[in-house]
């Protein structure tokens, strides 16, 4: 199942004795240790491999096959064929499914990266400030978090949609970003809370460093793995939310995304006509991307947290 694993590591994973692993740790530095376990974590490597393939398709697909995803390039409703041309088949309108898939995948990664990244930034800013400062700042930020948590995102989006007739993937990513940060802020706040009374933070305070320098230099590095995993979960979440928005017709206008492909397929009765190659690829694209991200998250958890390692 896993390529790139040597017989040696497989044997280790079968015997799985933690003492032996500890004994052969090559580096004393933490990063060396993480790398050592990362290269031996099947979950991490498989997920990384899948993501790599998807990213290659998303980045180079539209360059190699420069077909316009919205132009009629072939005979309508053609099943996938091996010949050059429309090798993922064509849609009801004769559009090339592969061009749509590659461009859609690009939009998906874009939404995930920008939306998830923005959510992670806001979540970190709010979480760190609330957790470190405490007091009335904490109260206010907590209230803000709860308000955003209960706002019906869909309602806001529909109101905005009626004003903005032309929306791009960029707008969608920003929107997903500014509505999906609350749980991350809560989680980071709780973590910061447990770190802020440690000795090393007190020492940093005594040495007269500013709040932000303490947060960036003392607190954040001590939960860097946690922050990274939060980002991965937000990344995957943003992709799923964006796909649902596209699917109810609130997605980008004039662009292409995987959710929009499914929306079009359902709107133009792909189900009743049996055009399975129109809606199967986008779903697999989303499933593979988000699934790989989640599995990678578990893998990272095991790499960073010695208690969970069973390698």
């Amino acid at each position: 199942m896993t390529s790139g694993l040597t017989a040696d590591t497989k044997m280790e994973s079968v015997s799985g004795s933690p003492d032996k692993d500890a004994a052969i740790l090559p580096a004393k530095k933490a990063s060396g240790e993480f790398l050592y376990f990362a290269l031996r974590s099947k979950k991490f490597l498989v997920a990384l491999g899948i993501l790599f393939v998807l990213i290659v398709i998303a980045v180079f697909g539209p360059i190699v096959d420069a077909t316009d995803p919205l132009a009629q390039t072939g005979i309508p409703i053609q099943p996938p064929t091996a010949d050059a041309g429309n090798w993922f088949g064509t849609t009801y309108f004769g559009e090339d499914v592969f061009a749509q898939f590659a461009n859609g995948l690009r939009a998906t990664f874009f939404v995930g990266l920008l939306g998830g990244g923005l959510a992670a930034l806001i979540g970190m800013a709010v979480g760190f400030t609330a957790g470190y400062r405490g007091g009335w700042i904490d109260e206010i930020l907590n209230m803000l978090t709860n308000v955003v948590l209960v706002i019906p995102t869909l309602a806001v989006l529909i109101v905005i949609t009626s004003y903005l007739k032309a929306r791009g993937v960029f707008f969608e990513a920003i929107f997903v970003g500014i509505t999906s940060w609350p749980w991350a802020a809560r989680a980071i706040r709780a973590q910061t809370f447990s770190l802020r009374s440690r000795d090393f933070v007190d020492l940093a305070k005594l040495s007269g460093r500013g709040t932000w320098r303490i947060i960036v230099q003392e607190i954040a590095p001590n939960m860097s793995s946690y922050l990274f995993m939060t980002f991965i979960l937000l990344f995957g979440g943003a992709i799923l939310i964006a796909a649902s928005l596209d699917f109810i017709g609130l997605g980008p206008t004039g662009g292409m995304s995987l959710g929009l492909m499914m929306f079009n397929a359902v709107t133009w009765a792909a189900l009743n006509l049996g055009i399975w190659w129109w809606f199967i690829p986008p779903g697999i694209g989303i499933m593979a991307t988000v699934g790989a991200l989640y599995v990678m998250n578990v893998g990272l958890d095991e790499i960073f947290n010695p208690k969970l390692r069973d390698i």
């Binding site: 019906p152 649902s244 609130l250 988000v290 699934g291 208690k307």
Partner: protein, 302 residues
């Protein structure tokens, strides 16, 4: 908000002379109360809301919003409640079974993560294609056959069930994955804790230790249910759209398409109140299940 719902409604009626159009516009404006000033409209909205009147729907050609929502709610609830409860139960039992059992765990974990990563609507599409289109086991769309009238007959009931199975399955399967993973992780965490180790040290059988771990791991899963409700409702909305299932999701979709703001507003109000109510119920269940919260409420410490 821009967009004139009355204009689109009149346009849909079609085939009316210009005099007729003017009369229709006037009639509908009066029907929806749009001929009044904005503050007046706002006050009217609250006054009628308190009387349980959400106005009239543009999409439904002037039928009351409440009537339309009430017609859709039974379908959505019939989908959501069994799907949530069964997947929660099945996922938790399965996750608990899989934790710390090498072979089961290695299959449950990847499958579970793939399932949670699946968009609800896509799984629905796959089910519809395989079971509905290719093998023709279940009907593709609708809540019941187009040739049937709602009635209390056996034939109508079986037809209803046949239309219900696919949307139910696609909701059930996606949620199942999430619960199974959550439970597996919680059980592993609980088996690491001091009380489990103590029990093990005392020589308690594995089954007993797992039983205690399971009861403790249940609690975060109940909280998780409350947190997930919003996502689950969104999932059921898109699933209904796939199957043209006549629930609230389909109604919302139609309301968006025909910019029917009265209906939209009514549906949102309904969903929000519904989710809050469900959260409240989960809170009460939590108090029943976890004796510590009861002690805490009486001012004691657990």
């Amino acid at each position: 908000m821009p967009g004139d719902p009355v204009a689109s409604l009149v346009a849909r009626t079609g085939g009316v002379s210009s005099d007729g159009t003017a009369a229709l516009v006037k009639y509908y404006n009066e029907l929806f109360g749009l001929n009044k000033s904005l503050p007046e409209q706002f006050i009217n909205f609250w006054a009628s809301l308190l009387q349980g009147d959400l106005g009239r729907s543009v999409f439904g050609h002037g039928r009351p919003v409440t009537e339309q929502i009430m017609g859709a709610v039974p379908f959505t609830l019939a989908l959501l409640i069994p799907a949530i409860l069964l997947s929660w139960w099945a996922g938790n039992s399965f996750g608990a079974l899989a934790a710390r059992r090498k072979w089961l765990d290695n299959t449950v974990l990847p499958v579970g993560y793939i399932l949670t990563a699946t968009p609800y609507m896509w799984l629905g599409l796959v089910f519809a294609f395989v079971l509905g289109f290719t093998f023709k086991i279940f009907p593709l769309s609708g809540g019941y056959g187009y040739n049937l009238e709602p009635s209390l007959t056996w034939r109508f009931f079986t037809d209803l069930v046949a239309h219900w199975i696919m949307p139910f399955l696609s909701l059930f399967v996606v949620m199942f994955g999430g619960w199974a993973i959550g439970m597996r992780n919680m059980i592993i965490y609980e088996l690491e804790s001091d009380y489990s180790r103590y029990l093990e040290a005392l020589g308690a059988p594995q089954g007993l230790v797992r039983k205690y771990a399971f009861r403790n791991a249940m609690l975060p899963q109940i909280t998780g249910l409350a947190l997930q409700l919003g996502v689950i409702v969104a999932g059921s909305l898109v699933t209904e759209i796939v199957f043209s299932y006549p629930g609230v999701g389909q109604l919302l979709f139609n309301a968006i398409k025909s910019s029917d703001y009265f209906l939209l507003q009514g549906i949102f109000l309904f969903i929000i109140v519904g989710v809050l109510l469900a959260n409240f119920i989960v809170d009460i269940v939590y108090i029943i299940v976890d004796p510590r919260t009861r002690v805490g409420m009486r001012g004691g410490t657990a």
